[in-house]
């Protein structure tokens, strides 16, 4: 994916990406201070918002090949399990029950799979959001501070699953994080942002 001359102004954020190449098959880190435009960049890549000017060359990736996890994930008015299998259902993909059970077991969601998603804690919501994003094996996954509410063990588990999926599928990851030290080992490449620019 190549981003060129991309500009977007939202409130105080004045994003300008002159030239950014996100090589496929790598785990990219995107780090920078609050309000520097990291989330805006992910939303532009995801197509949730449009640019004022500039271009994103997806190099063959379709919108349905990309997914994004946000810091405050949207949970459907349904139970945990139905939320997780939603992307599989809308794609008409076969539900591999043993794989889903295994993922839910590892993240501690299996015991609460029938629980109403709205009643989950913030950490559990992030786990649900994470599983919902990885379960359909997208080619590119954008993560916006999705590990901020996790304990140390869960964070390690997320990194383990990310590495597994990356190795199995060759998927591309773009992970926004403030936890630079903790995440550094995971990243193949790191992009630093400041005041709306890649520095």
């Amino acid at each position: 994916m190549r981003i060129t001359e991309l500009r977007k102004k939202i409130g105080k954020t004045d994003l300008y990406i002159k030239d950014l190449k996100i090589e496929s098959g790598l785990i990219h880190g995107l780090v920078g201070p609050n309000g520097c435009g990291k989330t805006t960049l992910l939303k532009l890549i995801m197509g949730i918002t449009g640019p004022d000017s500039g271009h994103i060359d997806y190099e063959g990736l379709k919108p349905s090949d990309i997914t994004m996890m946000s810091q405050r994930p949207y949970l459907m008015h349904a139970n945990v399990y139905d939320n997780i299998v939603y992307p599989l259902k809308i794609r008409g993909m076969k539900i591999d029950q043993s794989e889903i059970d295994c993922l839910m077991e590892r993240t501690g969601l299996l015991q609460i799979k029938d629980q109403y998603a709205g009643s989950l804690s913030s950490g559990e919501r992030q786990k649900l959001s994470f599983l919902r994003a990885v379960v359909f094996r997208p080619k590119m996954i954008l993560m916006d501070e999705t590990m901020s509410n996790l304990d140390q063990d869960s964070e390690e588990l997320f990194k383990e699953i990310i590495r597994e999926r990356h190795d199995e599928d060759g998927s591309t990851w773009l992970i926004v994080s403030h936890q630079w030290d903790a995440m550094n080992e995971l990243f193949d490449k790191v992009h630093h942002m400041d005041k709306g620019r890649i520095v």
């Binding site: 939303k43 995801m46 197509g47 949730i48 919108p63 349905s64 090949d65 990309i66 997914t67 994004m68 996890m69 946000s70 405050r72 949207y74 949970l75 459907m76 008015h77 939603y86 992307p87 809308i90 794609r91 109403y116 709205g118 009643s119 919501r125 919902r132 994003a133 359909f136 997208p138």
Partner: protein, 227 residues
Amino acid sequence: MLEWLRGVFTDPAVLSAIKVTFEMAFASTLISAVLGVIIGLWLQNHEFAGKRVVVRVNRTLMGVPPVVIGLLVYMLTMRGGPLGPLALLFTVKGMILAQVLIITPIISGMVFSYAESAVPAIRAFAKTMGADKRQTDRLILSELRNEIYFCIITGFGRAISEVGSVMLVGGNIKGHTRTMTTMISLLKSQGIYSEGIGLGLLLLVMAFILQTLSDSVRKEQIRDENY
């Protein structure tokens, strides 16, 4: 007491008024629900010049006195009016038309307000899941089902309790266009209170049932705010 209630609710005139009331309320709510949900969601999803004015007009119509709508429909449906040839005046269909004009802005206005706060997040989520347009629309309807249900209950409550417009358009004709509320109004003017109280009690029971349904929906919404 039981004897008195039995007397009230076996009176053919009362039974006819109950039948007309429910016929009118169900039909008008059904039509208004379809129109109101479509208009509310369409307004949320489209940007155009004058949108703010349209929203403001809708909100104004939410509070318009029903008797004004009644007068408008009366003038439209009277013999020399533009809808005169349809012979809607003093019919249940005419009353339904008036009710639809009253209830639709209420439902569309409420749906628009709910959609304004919820739909952008649902659309963004649908995008991240790779949903197409039809799947996104279905998801929006599914996610807003509690809110839409609450809007429809509100509309039905308004329809069942209406007096002014149905009196004007329906003419309060016994056994034909007389509703529970217009009958209560007539009975009061004739000084016959017992049947009026019986009908009033039935309306109160209906209001209680509607309130109970609304509360159950609200509880669901409060739960969702914990997101």
